[in-house]
């Protein structure tokens, strides 16, 4: 995919110990395989199968996706603010491609 469009919504800063909600929306067709396109070809399965989130290097959330996850998948989860650092979001797509985005959380 030439462009990978992800929207990550979370507070820019939080107090230590506060629980922050992280919302992630990605533009992706999540082709589940088996459909026929306009030219009559069968579309192979190609979905994002995993989203892994680390916070200052520590894994805090993982989302295993199968074909039952909608196109343009949305997910929200929570994490406890412990230190100022980067949240790193890494998606793995069928075929092995990965996409990474980061968001910074400042802890006061």
């Amino acid at each position: 995919m030439a462009s990978f469009n992800a929207r990550i919504t979370m507070p820019a800063e939080a107090k230590a110990g506060e629980i922050v909600e992280v919302r992630v929306l990605v533009r992706h067709p999540m082709d589940r395989g088996g459909q026929v396109d306009a030219e009559g070809r069968v579309v192979p399965r190609k979905i994002l199968n995993r989203l892994t989130v680390t916070y200052a290097g520590e894994p805090v959330f993982r989302y295993d996706m199968h074909t039952g996850v909608s196109a343009n998948p949305f997910v929200s989860f929570t994490t406890r603010a412990v230190e100022t650092g980067e949240l790193t979001f890494e998606w793995r797509e069928d075929g092995g491609a990965t996409f990474t985005r980061t968001a910074r959380l400042v802890v006061t």
């Binding site: 993982r62 074909t67 039952g68 997910v75």
Partner: protein, 164 residues
């Protein structure tokens, strides 16, 4: 990763079209009276799927809230929210939450891995539902137990019917 194409999606069973459904509705017949369409390869029952997920343990009801619309107009995108009552400490937390839809071509829909650092067990996501069915959310607790909540969902436009 290659995957088999589901027979259920590749050859959708002849279902009622929206027009037919409307016509029946107009004629005043109850939809519930319609016979369920025969299924060539019946998917494994929900209890079997749950037993596989929990490795045989019987999950308890309670402590888990599963918010999903009872009537879904479009199975291609269904908003769900799951909360589990848990202190989310090292000693007592939710390890993961698994969603299973018994009549989807691949009943395992999604799994969310949490940890004490999550602070709360509170997840929202968007799913696909192939047809009207029972959907269950199962949470694995750090103590080794499981909790479950399920819901019967009516889907008017299946995620499996699309020409494009």
């Amino acid at each position: 990763m290659s995957s088999p194409i589901s027979p259920a999606c590749a050859h959708p069973e002849p279902a009622l079209s929206r027009r037919e459904v409307m016509a029946i509705g107009a004629a005043g017949l109850a939809l519930a009276a319609l016979p369920a369409p025969a299924r060539a390869a019946a998917p494994p029952a929900l209890t079997e799927l749950i037993a596989r997920i929990t490795e045989g343990a019987v999950p308890e009801r309670g402590r888990i809230t599963f918010d999903i619309p009872q009537l879904v107009e479009n199975g291609n995108s269904v908003d769900v929210a799951i909360q589990v009552e848990s202190p989310m400490t090292d000693a007592d937390h939710v390890r993961w939450i698994h969603i299973v839809a018994e009549k989807n071509p691949f009943p395992d829909v999604a799994r969310f891995h949490l940890s004490p650092r999550s602070g709360r067990a509170d997840i929202r996501a968007t799913l696909r539902l192939a047809t009207s069915q029972k959907v269950a959310a199962i949470a694995a607790l750090s103590g080794g137990g499981y909790v479950i909540a399920d819901a019967d969902i009516v889907v008017t436009l299946s995620a499996c019917i699309d020409g494009g």
